[in-house]
Structure formats: structure tokens, C-alpha cells
Symmetry: C2
Subunit: 220 residues, 2 copies
């Protein structure tokens, strides 16, 4: 199907250090889409009337003003951007339906298996210590065991290709970046280092120039 | 982008009364895709060697044999089918990127907000009683309160159109059907009936001929 390119002012409402906002940043930078960012950590008051209307109260929300388009759900926004703003030769999806299906399956893998475990570990190992609470070691051990099994499947999947859904970087890889960013600051990092293909994949996708731009946003 | 149509023997491995399998049934029937169904409740032994290789051990798995394509994740399979087997004039996606984005956001709404609450209620009100355990009333009440808030947003979204993502039936509606099928058998049904537009939407999407075919599969 033909996808015409949408023009118009693009605004992302989010929180610069939230994983969901980082996912959308990464997709926007990869696709070289100019956008305005409203950091709701800093100016929620200015935008209170808009923010009160956000579906499910969940950020980020992506808005294209000329088109009166409002999208929510970080992976939905990522999918939208990867289809509408694809750069010829550097698409984050595949044109062949078979490969597009693979991208979808591996986005769902991140969403349903990788993310819940990663989020639990980040909560225990980063969020709780930050407010002076100890990590619950039994929860950490159990969650790491589950994540290790998932990473064994990733190690296997990366046998034939450098990327999850085939021989090029796609949204299936990109969607993992925000959790990786936080996890490699914790002792869980070793689970990635112990698996050579997973370790190489992490290094590869974290070295992308667009990801450096995301980190600059996170650290402002 | 152009999507060529894939040929080849199509096999769905699943469990005929699982919500995830029902989601894929619905999409296959809507798109009139001929497929073979392997009910793993009945013949797991015959397929043990294949099943042992299923990513994440999660069903359903969809296989196109000629292409050596194996997809997992019920929503990923649904997305694949809706793009590859679209029927002209009855597409379950929109050709315009704006509307495709809306479909993605409302699939994510089902996945992240509707499904977790619905699954919790189905567990308490159907699965537990089935094995002689009482439902935990406090959990049911609290979950229904949360679901009611979500359904208020649905009621609002349905103000302008009969369907969630626009003026026609799409995968964003379809993906809700399996949870609806189970929830309307419980007292939670009233939350849908109390909201006129949500009630009309439920009646509309549950009356589709393809859904009748799914129910025939569930009841075999």
C-alpha cells in the first residue's frame, strides 16, 4: 500500500528520562524527523489542559498539528514513524511481508517478555536504591533467571543475523534500547556480556548515532 | 510500500479456546485465508518436536511452510495477516498513514490496558470457579473499577465513529473480541451494557460472520 508523507508541526509530550519517551526519541532521530519536545517534568502547567485529555493518562503522546493526529502508546508511535517517515535504503521495517512479520513478532517479544522482566529489575536495582530502599534480592535473582532464559532465545535468534528480525537494524532492535540503557548500569549487565552474540548486538545497536542523540536528551 | 501476496501451506498451532488463538482465528476468517489448525490440546505428541522449538514456549504459532516463515505473538500474527491478505475494500487497516497510526494506538490500548484487566476478571470469575475456587471479591471490585475508567475512554472515542480507529472495522476492534467473548458471560457484562456506544460497538463487532466461525472452532 502507498503511504503518503505527512507534513505539519510535530510535538512529542513526554518525560525525557522515561523509557517510553526514549523509544520514540530514538525512532524520530533515526528517521531524521524534526520535532518539538515538551518535557512534562518541566512545564506541565503550560500544557495542563492538553495533558488532561491524554488517553489513558499515559505518556508519551505524539501530535501532528496540521493533521489533528494524536497518537499514544510508545510502540504504536514507533510503528507509525517507521512506516511514514522511512528513509529509502535505511527503512526500519522490511518491504517484504515475511520480514515485516518477523519485525512484528520481535517487537511483541520485547513488549511481552523482555520489557516486563527488565522493568522489574530496573525497579529493584535502580528506582528503589534511588529513594533509599534496598533491592529485594530474591526478586532480583528470580527475575534474572527468567531474563537469562529469554536471552538464550535471543542468542539463538542472532545466530544467523546480526539483528533480531533479519540482516538490518529495524524497530525490533530499536524498541529494546531504553531497557538496555538502564540495565547495563546494573549487575544484570553480566547476563548480556555472557552471551557473545547478544553482547555484540547490544554494542552494535547502542553505537548508533541516533542513540547518542537520545542520550543527549536524557542527560539535559 | 508494495506487499506481495504470500502463497504456501498455512498452519496455526494453538489451543482452540485460548484468547490468543481466537484472535488469530478471527483475523484468518475475516481475510478468508485457508489454513490448517493443529489443536495442541488434542495432538501435542504428534507435534512435540516442533512445539519444543516454539519461541518463548507461547502459542499460537503461525507457520507458512513454503516460505519457512514462523511467527509468534497473536497480535503480531494478526498484524501480518491484515497487511498481507487484505481484501480490497474490506481492509482491516487503513491505507492512510494517519489512520494506520490510529489502528496501532488502539491495538496498543487493548494490549496494555484492556487485556490485563479483562484477563484478571476472567481468571477470577471464570477460571477459578471452574476448579471450585471462589472469586476474590475485593480483586474483582477493584479491577472492575479500573476497567470502568477504561471503558469511559472507549465510550468517548466512539462518539465520532462506530469503530475504535475510524469509520470501519479494523484489527483495533478485532483484537478485543476474545476478551469480550469471555467477559459477557460474567457479571462484568453490565459495564459494557451501561455505556450505550460501547454496547452498540460490542454488538456490532460480535455479529460479524467471521466471529461466528471462530465460535464454531471454540465449541468443537
Amino acid at each position: 500500500m502507498a503511504l503518503e508523507v505527512v507534513s505539519g508541526r510535530k510535538v512529542l509530550y513526554g518525560s525525557n528520562d522515561s523509557k517510553e519517551t526514549m523509544r520514540v526519541f530514538a525512532s524520530l532521530f533515526e528517521h531524521e524527523v524534526p520535532f518539538e519536545f515538551i518535557n512534562v517534568n518541566i512545564k506541565p502547567k503550560d500544557h495542563r489542559s492538553f495533558l488532561s485529555q491524554i488517553p489513558f493518562g499515559e505518556l508519551p503522546v505524539y501530535k501532528e498539528e496540521d493533521d489533528d493526529l494524536v497518537l499514544f502508546g510508545s510502540r504504536a508511535i514507533m510503528r507509525y514513524i517507521s512506516h511514514v517517515y522511512m528513509i529509502k535504503g535505511k527503512e526500519h521495517v522490511f518491504v517484504s511481508p515475511r520480514m515485516q512479520g518477523m519485525v512484528s513478532s520481535w517487537i511483541e517479544s520485547e513488549d511481552h517478555w523482555f520489557d516486563p522482566l527488565a522493568s522489574k529489575l530496573i525497579y529493584e536495582l535502580i528506582d528503589k536504591p534511588k529513594v533509599g530502599l534496598p533491592a529485594e534480592e530474591a526478586v532480583v535473582d528470580e527475575t534474572e533467571d527468567e531474563l537469562a532464559k529469554i536471552l538464550d532465545l535471543y542468542e539463538d535468534q542472532l545466530k544467523e543475523n546480526d539483528y533480531l528480525a533479519g540482516d538490518k537494524f529495524t524497530s525490533a532492535d530499536l524498541t529494546h534500547l531504553p531497557n538496555l540503557y538502564y540495565l547495563i548500569k546494573t549487575k544484570t549487565k553480566r547476563l548480556f556480556e555472557e552471551r557473545p552474540r547478544v553482547a555484540a548486538w547490544c554494542a552494535l545497536i547502542m553505537s548508533r548515532p541516533a542513540w547518542a542523540k537520545v542520550l543527549a536528551m536524557v542527560h539535559t
